[in-house]
């Protein structure tokens, strides 16, 4: 947790030149991480340009071409490289569009849960003991429920939709940030540089966000990568259970739910959406491992 020694941060607050270079040097030592980064870049590209990359509208139904197998299989058609689903929609177009939803889920969940979690965690670290105790008990309560179950019940309350699934997942992910931020902030608080900032007369917000927070960021960034992939998995799981994005949205988990009854007849409608989830999540987790190696020198040797 106490990864970045304060000595590394120059007192005048100017970034040391080549900080990013140093980071990338350690990051790129992990070949898997670089590989993950490239796949993730591809995923972001697809998410950004899906409407232009997809050959068809993801909702367009070609009634004469239902359940066409992928092009390389017998009966396949190069007009639909990855085949079509039971309603005659092009699998490739749906998969490419699905990247948008997953990316969106990841970004929103990480932003919301990290922002909330960091603020609550810092408050908890700086607050008087009773408030700290209350905050930590509330987090314990949230963590006592298995995350997917809690998200499921929250979505049942809010009504099944992708937005509500994101809200539920963000709430469930939040306590991890709170605990992490609080723990590293408490470690930093005892150090001399915080005391000197206090003596100089830094106000509480400045102390929290400008003095302490930058030195707690390393584990939080690693956690952000981790929760990005968890968010995609959970959103897909909720979609699969019928509590996430609703059909006909081409969200990967929802596509899997729609394809379930065809698993023994048409392998491609089941295989491709799951493969898309797996590759995306895997690339993010590979990156996360590299981030941890680069940002947290204490863990590097293990």
């Amino acid at each position: 947790m106490t990864a970045t020694a304060p000595a590394q941060t120059p007192a005048n607050g100017v970034e040391r030149p080549g900080r990013f270079k140093e980071f990338y040097h350690y990051f790129s030592e992990n070949r898997g991480a670089v590989f993950g980064l490239w796949i993730f870049a591809g995923f972001v590209f697809v998410a950004a340009f899906a409407p232009w990359l997809a050959p068809y509208d993801p909702a367009e139904q070609f009634r004469d071409f239902t359940l066409i197998p992928p092009a390389w299989q017998e009966g396949g058609n190069w007009a639909f490289p990855l085949g079509t689903d039971p309603l005659g929609r092009d699998m490739l177009s749906r998969l490419l569009t699905g990247a948008r939803y997953s990316f969106f889920v990841g970004v929103v969940v990480v932003t919301v849960s990290a922002t909330g979690g960091i603020i609550i965690g810092l408050i908890s670290a700086f607050a008087p003991k009773w408030l700290d105790a209350i905050i930590m008990r509330v987090m314990d309560i949230i963590l006592a429920f298995p995350s997917l179950l809690l998200a499921l019940v929250l979505v049942a309350i809010l009504g099944p939709s992708l937005t509500n699934a994101m809200i539920a997942i963000a709430i469930v992910a939040q306590p991890h940030y709170v605990r992490l931020t609080r723990a590293s902030a408490l470690g930093e608080l005892q150090k001399d540089y915080v005391t000197s900032a206090r003596v100089v007369g830094a106000g509480l917000p400045r102390l929290m966000f400008l003095t302490v927070l930058p030195n707690c960021l390393a584990p939080i960034i690693v956690q952000a990568a981790l929760s990005f992939s968890t968010a995609i998995l959970d959103a897909a799981a909720l979609g699969f259970l019928g509590m996430g994005a609703q059909p006909p949205t081409p969200e990967w988990g929802t596509m899997l739910a729609e394809a379930r009854e065809f698993i023994l007849r048409a392998w491609w409608v089941v295989t491709f959406p799951g493969l898309a989830i797996l590759i995306t999540v895997l690339s993010i987790n590979l990156m996360g491992d590299g981030l941890r190696d680069a940002l947290d020198p204490k863990l590097k040797r293990s």
Binding site: P146, L152, V153, G274, S302
Partner: protein, 335 residues
């Protein structure tokens, strides 16, 4: 040690009350009038509606309702299901063995493969087995298990026809549950083929539920082993001329297991979340499927009681792990 135990127990109590508050609050904020939902499509007369409102105490103040609910909970009364009319408590414990059996098998699967894989990877650090096992572990860790389940069904049930697709037991066999564990009951029944049927129903759900724990355990074992292998006493053991198998398998592994066991203990929540998906896909009649079905049926007392029981279980296991860990590792106690 006693002080540590007491302080841990003291944090348990408010958390438990918080959990009761949350599971109580959920039923109150769920959209739709629970009584209308319970009546279903037949509808209700006005008098009957008022009667039910009184019967369930919905006419009292929210605070009074919570006090009544808490009083019930502390006496082991969690209300009755709207659908089956059976007490939630009874339903939970009649379904719980199914989930427990599946979870135990999944954990055995994960530990039996994960620990050796982690040890082999650590001993051969950077070499082929390490890379192979650790990339497989990362894939397993990233796996959407509901999709993994479907793939296994396609392969083993669809193409090879080796395993059944759903349920716990072939309909050919019937016997009274004794322990609730199919593997044991089928043996006790003495019916030929029943045990085989139970095993074949268990295999795929076990693999699916055990995949993520397997990956986590393998990764954790590897990093714990690497840490221990650098210690002086390992060098001493090697210098003494002990065989590598003995040094790695006994001296190193024994100490590396402490963090691994902690991780295993803390995995109850993960297992239960996985059970929700696994049981739904394989129509496994356990707690996970029960919760999902009840959420869809808007069976509020079940959702409320199930949430409370599951959260309490997670909390009790986590507390036990914490205390045991404090027992092994005195450093933790001083916090």
């Amino acid at each position: 040690m006693l002080r540590y135990l007491l302080s841990r127990l003291l944090t348990f109590v408010p958390t438990f009350f918080g959990v009761t508050l949350i599971s109580f609050a959920f039923i109150r904020v769920l959209p739709g009038d629970p009584i209308i939902v319970m009546a279903g499509e037949r509808g209700l007369s006005e008098e009957r509606y008022q009667e039910l409102v009184r019967q369930y105490g919905f006419d009292k103040s929210v605070f009074q309702q919570y006090v009544d609910y808490l009083g019930g909970v502390l006496q082991g009364d969690l209300g009755a299901s709207f659908v089956t009319k059976k007490p939630v408590w009874d339903e939970f414990f009649s379904l719980f063995p199914a989930t427990l059996e599946l979870s135990i098998c999944a954990m055995i699967f994960a530990v039996a493969l994960g620990i050796p894989a982690g040890v082999i990877a650590a001993v051969n650090r950077g070499k082929l087995p390490d890379r192979l096992f650790m990339s497989s572990a990362l894939v397993g860790y990233s796996m959407p298990i509901f999709w993994w389940a479907l793939l296994l069904i396609i392969l083993f049930s669809g193409m090879l026809g080796w395993t059944p697709v759903s349920g716990r037991m072939s309909l050919m066999y019937f016997f009274e549950p004794v322990t609730g564990f199919m593997l044991i009951d089928s043996l006790l029944s003495g019916q030929e083929g029943a045990f085989r049927s139970a095993v074949s129903h268990l295999i795929l759900p076990t693999i699916v539920l055990g995949t993520i724990p397997l990956a986590v355990i393998a990764r954790q074992t590897r990093s714990a082993m690497l840490e221990v292998l650098g210690e002086d006493y390992i060098r001493t053991a090697r210098a003494k001329g002990l065989s590598p198998a003995r040094v790695n398998g006994v001296h190193a592994l024994r100490n590396a297991l402490i963090p691994v066991v902690t991780v295993i203990g803390l995995m109850v929540g993960t297992l239960l979340a996985g059970a929700i998906l696994t049981e739904t896909i394989f129509s496994w009649p356990g707690i996970g499927k029960w919760m999902v079905d009840s959420i869809f049926r808007r069976d509020y007392p079940v959702v409320q009681g199930g949430l409370l029981l599951i959260a309490s279980m997670v909390m009790i296991v986590n507390l036990t792990v914490d205390v045991l860990y404090g027992l092994i590792n005195p450093k933790i106690r001083r916090r």
